[in-house]
């Protein structure tokens, strides 16, 4: 096969090209020809097709995502916003923290272990590329029904992949979520979050500037991994017709990534880098075009200098390769020698593959011939934009009308009935202990983990001397979002915000991973439009800007889409991690207070799922001002020693929160149903803006005064006491019985 050079393309304008097979639409192909003033070469066509795919270009979602910028709240905390590899937030004392949540859904369904593993690898490199030391990871996961045979295939592989990669990298896994719902049966969601820490002056950006500066590719050698993976795997629904010649699945090498991290941090430490980008989806195509596009000049690359694992690769394939554990750096000529020396120290392969030019083009050579000559912005940042049609689904009204009223779903009316439902909720796979999963992750490495699995948020210390720390919580309730996408997305933010505050940290910023079905379905697009609008509005009200994230579309099998699942991560800061608030009831005699208002809100609740397998009605109402007030009380209470335990109320309501806090602390609780409240609603409602806290008796007066002064309803509901959960006048259940119900569920199904 002859090489398709730029010269060749000029001379053969009418040669047929496989633009449709590469996923381009006819008008998109026409636009490429218009930009270039000729037909693209094979390599150029490959670059445009992959960079203009849904996954890389956000062409269906960006008209909605721009609200996150337009409605951005005023804040001093944001140092780097949307558009870079990850957002960066000021957390004080000269520290900056970067964090981002991203999806690796489709690859994880095909090859669960490697899909999940490389998902961790990718997000960690994003964080590293900002100049930060990665310090923790979290994984929000969604699976099909817990008892479905395919879940047995998918879940253990994904969990082992997350552990296998993350543990080997030496990053503590400090939280996340595991949710089962049959809507995710053929489309599990594997989202991965990483947190990184740096000093302000260490922030790095993905841009190439300064003519004559060298482009260095370093890390693993380039092989045929995942060629076409981005456009084929991540953008379209599955079919069996994919070519077998090249692996669509990438294999991760966490050992190589660990070396890459240490090597890169040493390079940053000596200030040897002008700009840096990790190689992820679309590999070198993406990295070179993004670096050049964001920079001041052009770039020239010589593909013959790329270190290959497979010498049969064509230039198109080298550009498209998604081999993992690679980075691309822009380095001044006099610093190249030292850069390569550090790479050698860490056994990391590094090559100068090109340089920054003072032109405006990205030029790529192969065997001395020009095979790519494009304006980089047209590849990286000026891809197509779609205004996809969207409309409220015809079934939405009926779904909302099917409310879980007492007439529609039988509610327990006796103490024994309440107890039975409490145990059903606590033993449902969604509420049951996830320790079989989370015990496969190292939560201790690096020695800074303050709160992790089973807590409301994951918290890490970032300074040994001052005890400054950060915490992160991720939440997303697909059931709520299905019932009302606008409110559901806001509830996801509200819950993550509340979880961060419950640990004692002040919420600062948001990253989101928006998992939806096909954008070509107007119903799904409406869900997406509503959810982004809801989230952007809520971020504005709560003062927590979206700093970045990712969109995953086409999560559907045939016509059936997953529940719309926006996963929202909130980052918070805490000045003194020794003041953090755990969920465990640890001290006998402490007083239990229920904060917030409880109403009859059971739509989409864990109870309606666990007991009746029902989804209908409206999700709980959102009151963001109330969330903010509750957050302030939780943070003040933690800082001033007024509360010793706090647990946010969400899935399963107060009943589930009491079960978890009692079991975690190994202490019982005696509670009384407040006057005027129905015992069932008291235990199972999922009204938002609530938490249960344990207050030392000596602090009761002060705590009450604070709540009264600030106008937050606080109801004394009981005391930490005994060796069971006793709901007075209704039922009591021993800790042993609760533990039996709550633990062992996941391993029984999947172990």
């Amino acid at each position: 096969m002859s090489l398709d050079t730029v010269k060749n393309a000029e001379q053969t304008p009418d040669a047929a090209q496989p633009w449709a097979e590469l996923g381009l639409k006819q008008d998109e192909y026409a636009r490429v020809r218009e930009i270039l003033g000729r037909r693209p070469t094979g390599a150029e066509l490959a670059m445009y097709s992959v960079m203009w795919s849904e996954h890389c270009s956000y062409k269906s979602s960006k008209v909605h995502l721009k609200q996150f910028g337009e409605k951005k709240p005023e804040t001093d905390a944001m140092l780097v916003g949307i558009g870079e590899n990850a957002g960066v937030v000021d957390v004080g004392q000269g520290y900056a923290v970067t964090f981002k949540v991203e999806s690796h859904n489709h690859p994880s369904y095909i090859e669960p272990y490697q899909g999940a593993a490389t998902g961790i690898g990718g997000i960690v490199r994003d964080i590293l590329a900002m100049g930060a030391r990665p310090v923790a990871v979290m994984d929000p996961l969604r699976f099909g029904a817990a008892d479905h045979p395919d879940t047995r295939r998918v879940l253990p592989g994904i969990v082992a992949g997350i552990g296998g990669y993350g543990n080997c990298l030496g990053l503590p896994n400090i939280g996340g979520e595991v949710v089962f719902d049959s809507c995710y049966q053929g489309n599990p969601l594997v989202n991965a979050l990483c947190v990184g820490v740096m000093k302000h002056e260490d922030i790095h950006l993905a841009q190439a500037s300064g003519a004559g500066n060298k482009v260095i590719l370093y890390g693993a050698r380039t092989g045929g991994d995942g060629i076409g993976g981005v456009s084929v795997l991540a953008s379209e629904t599955f079919d069996d017709s994919k070519p077998a010649k090249r692996p669509a699945v990438q294999v991760g090498d966490p050992f190589q990534e660990k070396l890459l991290i240490e090597c890169t941090l040493e390079i940053f430490g000596e200030k040897l880098v002008k700009g840096i980008q990790d190689l992820g989806g679309a590999g070198l195509s993406c990295a070179t075009s993004e670096l050049a596009s964001a920079g001041s000049g052009g770039m020239r690359i010589d593909l013959d200098t790329v270190h290959l694992r497979d010498h049969t690769l064509s230039p198109e394939e080298i550009l498209m390769s998604e081999s993992q554990e690679r980075m691309c750096a822009i380095v001044e000529p006099d610093k190249v020698a030292r850069f390569l020396e550090i790479c050698e120290k860490w056994d990391v392969i590094a090559n100068v593959i090109g340089e920054v030019t003072d032109g405006e083009r990205l030029e790529i050579y192969w065997h001395g011939e020009l095979v790519v000559d494009v304006p980089p912005r047209t590849v990286a940042h000026e891809g197509p934009t779609y205004q996809r049609p969207f409309a409220r689904p015809s079934w939405q009204d009926a779904l909302q009308a099917d409310a879980p009223t007492a007439e529609r779903l039988a509610r327990p009316t006796t103490g024994e009935g309440l107890k039975a439902d409490l145990l059903k909720v606590a033993s449902h796979p969604n509420q049951a202990s996830k320790s079989w999963i989370t015990d496969q992750y190292d939560r201790y490495v690096l020695g800074n983990t303050v709160l992790s699995h089973g807590e409301d948020s994951g918290m890490i210390r970032i300074d040994d001397e001052t005890n400054l720390g950060v915490s992160v919580a991720t939440d997303g309730n697909g059931r709520f979002t299905k019932l009302d996408p606008y409110t559901g997305a806001q509830l996801a933010l509200a819950e993550a915000y509340r979880n961060v505050a419950a640990g004692g940290a002040k919420p600062l910023a948001v990253s989101d991973c928006l998992n939806f079905g096909s954008p070509e379905d107007p119903d799904v697009m409406w869900q997406f439009a509503e959810a982004t609008r809801g989230l952007a509005d809520a971020c504005l009200t709560l003062g927590t800007p979206v700093t970045g994230g990712n969109v995953s579309l086409y999560n559907q099998t045939g016509e059936v889409a997953i529940h719309p699942t926006p996963v929202v991560a909130v980052l918070g800061v805490i000045d003194d991690v020794t003041r953090r608030t755990p969920v465990a009831f640890a001290e006998e005699g402490q007083l239990l207070y229920l904060l917030g208002d409880t109403e009859d809100e059971l739509g989409g609740s864990a109870w309606s799922q666990a007991v009746h397998e029902h989804l209908g009605g409206l999700p709980p109402k959102v009151d963001l001002e109330r969330e903010r007030l509750l957050g302030e009380i939780l943070i003040s209470g933690s800082r001033d020693g007024m509360i010793d335990a706090a647990h946010d109320l969400s899935d399963g309501g107060l009943g589930q929160a009491l079960v978890e806090s009692c079991l975690k602390g190994g202490r019982g609780a005696r509670v009384v149903v407040p006057e005027g409240l129905d015992p069932f609603v008291f235990l199972f409602s999922e009204s938002a803006g609530r938490a249960v806290v344990a207050v030392p008796r000596s602090e009761e007066l002060r705590f009450n005064d604070m709540c009264t002064a600030r106008g937050l309803p606080a109801t004394r509901i009981g005391v930490v006491d005994g060796d069971g959960l006793d709901v007075q006048g209704q039922f009591s259940v021993s800790l042993a019985e609760l533990k039996d119900a709550h633990t062992g569920v996941i391993e029984a199904l999947l172990g």
Binding site: I110, E111, A220, P247, V249, V251, D310
Partner: protein, 84 residues
């Protein structure tokens, strides 16, 4: 009793981190001249009955669906000769 050996190797185009780590270590220990290393798995299956076409077909099926992950691995099936 007849023995059938199933060798499972990562497909040639798939990255083999283990093989690469071993290959990089060999020269440091003085074992030079080795251009590439790939690491795989070997299964030895002891059959109860004779090794006939039907048995081999069953083993191939087992290898295909269970012993190898054919998304990333290839396998070969061979009969181990008696007395070896």
């Amino acid at each position: 009793m007849a023995r059938v050996v199933v060798d499972v190797m990562l497909k040639p185009e798939i990255l083999d981190p283990q093989g690469q780590a071993v290959q990089r270590a060999l020269p440091r220990l003085g074992f030079t001249g080795i251009a590439d290393v790939r690491q795989g798995k070997r299964f030895e299956l002891e059959l109860e009955g004779p090794v006939d076409d039907a048995a081999l077909a069953r083993i191939r099926e087992a290898a295909e669906t269970f012993l190898a992950n054919t998304v990333i691995e290839d396998f070969t099936v061979r009969v181990e000769e008696e007395g070896k």
